[in-house]
């Protein structure tokens, strides 16, 4: 093997998006006979074969740092003043967590401080989206490439057999997938669902994702109770891939009112599974969805409820959004994104030895 690459990440968790992304970069590089070491801050049971950050020498030809939160791994890079490729997945602004989880707020704040310290060390920035890329450019990083998160779409994929049939005029299932966090604004979704329930009393809202912070989950349950829709909101928690696919297939519309998304993997999964999208235009959401969904500039409950009702009630619109979503999701198919990632990295390995 001619070259080595270090992939730096705080920890390799079981199934989170950044860990999967790192594994897929490792596979991509190893296929090209590049020796890869994964360097972590904390070892978990699922990541045997990783190197702890204390033993990291920074002597690989290319070191790629996955950055999305304050970490000791990033701190080590800063201490060593080692040149890196910064793979930026965005950092949620701390103000979203301040009232809910001050410790988490501090951690993301630290991540942002580290980001500005990492900027002068960055040989190249790789951003999941143009939104993320702009943040890197604003920090003075000139060489920025957009390359989406690598992940394998759910097995339903574009071959989904969703029939696009009529939805019960009083019902319909609205789905959102994503960590239950204040920046994703599940509370706005529940608010809109409460309004939607006035016209569709048999409808259902499904929220898939674990809670971070847990207090937010309790508040969402309280809000659902106060607005009279508690028994129609399913807090599914973290689910297996199989169950996630089932939720996608069972639902009639995917709604996202997140105020901060660096990319939005579930948006693409929803499109790939043939779910029509209604989303609030914030951060990278509009960019990821493109013209494959109903993108709103206003997410007040009545507006969002009206959009959901329109999609649920209009079979033709639903089918067209489904077709467009499936086509749009192909942009993020693993074969395409792997190629993009390799183009982003290739010259760093092929330059001077």
């Amino acid at each position: 093997m001619s070259y080595t690459a270090d992939l730096l990440i705080p920890q390799m968790a079981g199934a989170d998006a950044t860990s999967n992304h790192t594994r897929l970069i490792r596979d991509l590089l190893e296929e090209r006979e590049i020796e890869v070491r994964i360097v972590v801050e904390r070892k978990t049971r699922s990541d045997s074969g990783t190197v702890p950050i204390e033993k990291w020498k920074g002597d690989a030809r290319v070191s790629i740092l996955q950055h999305s939160i304050g970490s000791e791994v990033a701190q080590s890079v800063i201490r060593k003043q080692a040149p890196i490729v910064l793979n930026y997945h965005n950092i949620t602004p701390a103000n979203y967590f301040q009232a809910w989880h001050p410790e988490l707020a501090k951690s993301v704040q630290r991540g942002r401080q580290q980001l500005s310290q990492l900027a002068p060390l960055t040989r190249r920035g790789i951003a999941d989206s143009e939104f993320n890329a702009q943040e890197l450019r604003d920090l003075g990083i000139d060489d920025v490439v957009v390359s989406p998160v690598l992940w394998q779409l759910g097995s339903g994929g574009a071959q989904t057999s969703r029939d696009g049939g009529a939805v019960d005029p009083e019902g319909g299932t609205v789905l959102f997938v994503g960590r239950l966090a204040p920046n994703k604004c599940h509370h706005d979704l529940i608010a809109a669902f409460a309004v939607l329930s006035c016209t569709r009393p048999q409808s259902r809202l499904v929220l898939v994702g674990d809670a971070s912070p847990p207090q937010y989950l309790q508040s969402l349950k309280d809000l659902a109770g106060r607005t009279g829709v508690r028994d129609r909101v399913v807090f599914a928690g973290r689910v297996s891939d199989k169950n996630l696919l089932q939720w996608y297939q069972l639902s009639d519309v995917f709604a996202c009112v997140s105020e901060h998304e660096g990319f939005g993997v579930p948006l693409v999964e929803a499109m790939a599974n043939g779910l029509p999208l209604v989303a609030y235009n914030a951060a990278a959401v509009g960019e990821t969805v493109g013209d494959a969904g109903i993108i709103l500039r206003d997410k007040r409950p009545a507006t969002l409820a009206l959009a959901l009702d329109r999609v649920l009630g209009d079979k033709q619109l639903r089918n067209r959004l489904r077709d467009r979503g499936i086509k749009s999701a192909q942009r993020f198919d693993i074969s395409a994104t792997r190629e993009q990632m390799w183009i982003a990295l290739k010259d760093l390995f092929e330059g001077e030895a």
Partner: protein
């Protein structure tokens, strides 16, 4: 031109936003509903103040002073000759009242602070023990398997006992009972806490709702159900919750309604279940006793199932059953 090309999402989005705005102008109730929801969230969500401000006594007390429950400013009125005297009395009174209100507000502020601390600590305890108000299941249950889905024999027998009118199944599980009852043309829904079971039920197009069974029962309208079926996780509730459940179920039934209980006898549990879930669930005989005490005519019906050997069927005792054979499979 294909359907794919015909769609203009930007136009549709603009139309929806304009329509929503129009409805707000025309429908005051909609605006009011939006306000109420927003207020509900404001009440629930923690204030978005930096944590250090919350612990700073000066800022905290200042905040409380701004929200003083007692207003120390007395109304002003005057006649030329008495103006000076009144001004002096007013100032003295003001200082005194101000002193009293400050004392009161500081005291109230301290109480609020300590209550908030207590609430936070309680929340942590509830989270760590999974024993919050929303999850009345004892911590020991975490070590136990949830009761399995009722067998086809149980489902079909319970469905035969179900009377007319809407039916509620607590807990709904994956929907075996809901399906069997629904197949008899009875409007039925189940409530289930485990989202994976809800998913399984919804996959079969069954009306399985999510949430805590007892909370759902409490929230239902009085006299709204023809039949209430108690099964599934009811086996794992402590006696106090079961007593509450009987009371609530009786309220939510119509005058001609009935309660059906399909649970396994705790005495038939294995050693592990007995050790890890002491005091959880009661036997069908005890259910019959409780329901009779609650004013029902209750009977035990044998069931050909390895787990649930008897099913309790209870009618209101004040109305005589027009046909004693009705409801028998």
């Amino acid at each position: 031109m294909s359907a794919f090309e015909l769609i203009d999402t930007v136009r549709i989005s603009a139309e929806i936003e304009a329509e929503a705005e129009k409805r707000r102008r025309q429908d005051r109730e909609l605006v009011q509903l939006e306000r109420e929801i927003e207020q509900a969230w404001t009440d629930i969500a923690p204030a978005a103040t930096p944590p250090e401000a919350v612990h700073d006594d000066g800022i905290l007390l200042g905040h409380i002073a701004n929200l003083a429950a007692l207003d120390p400013h007395v109304p002003i009125g005057s006649r030329r000759g008495l103006r000076g005297v009144k001004w002096t009395i007013r100032k003295l009174t003001y200082w005194y009242i101000r002193f009293l209100t400050d004392q009161f507000n500081v005291f109230a502020g301290m109480l609020i602070r300590h209550l908030r601390h207590l609430e936070t600590r309680m929340g942590r305890v509830e989270l760590s023990t999974r024993h919050g108000t929303d999850q009345p299941v004892p911590a020991g249950l975490g070590f136990l398997d949830e009761p399995p889905e009722p067998s086809a024999a149980v489902a079909s027998q319970v469905a035969c006992y179900a009377g007319p009118g809407p039916c509620l199944v607590l807990s709904g599980g994956e929907g075996a009972l809901v399906e069997a009852i629904g197949d008899r043309g009875i409007r039925v829904h189940g409530v289930e806490q485990d989202p994976n079971r809800v998913l399984a039920g919804l996959s079969r197009q069954l009306d399985i709702r999510t949430g805590d069974v007892l909370a759902h029962l409490v929230g239902a309208i009085d006299g709204s159900f023809g039949t209430i079926v108690l099964t599934g996780m009811v086996e794992t509730l402590p006696l106090a919750n079961l007593l509450g459940m009987v009371d609530q179920a009786a309220r939510k039934l119509k005058a001609t309604g009935r309660i059906i209980v399909a649970v396994a006898d705790p005495a038939s549990r294995g050693r592990v279940e007995t050790d890890l879930g002491p005091g959880l669930g009661i036997s069908p005989i005890t259910w019959r006793h409780l329901l009779e005490r609650a004013g029902f005519d209750a009977r035990l019906e044998p069931c050909p199932d390895s787990r649930i050997a008897e099913i309790v069927v209870a009618h209101r005792s004040e109305q005589s059953d027009p046909d004693p054979e009705q409801g028998k499979p």
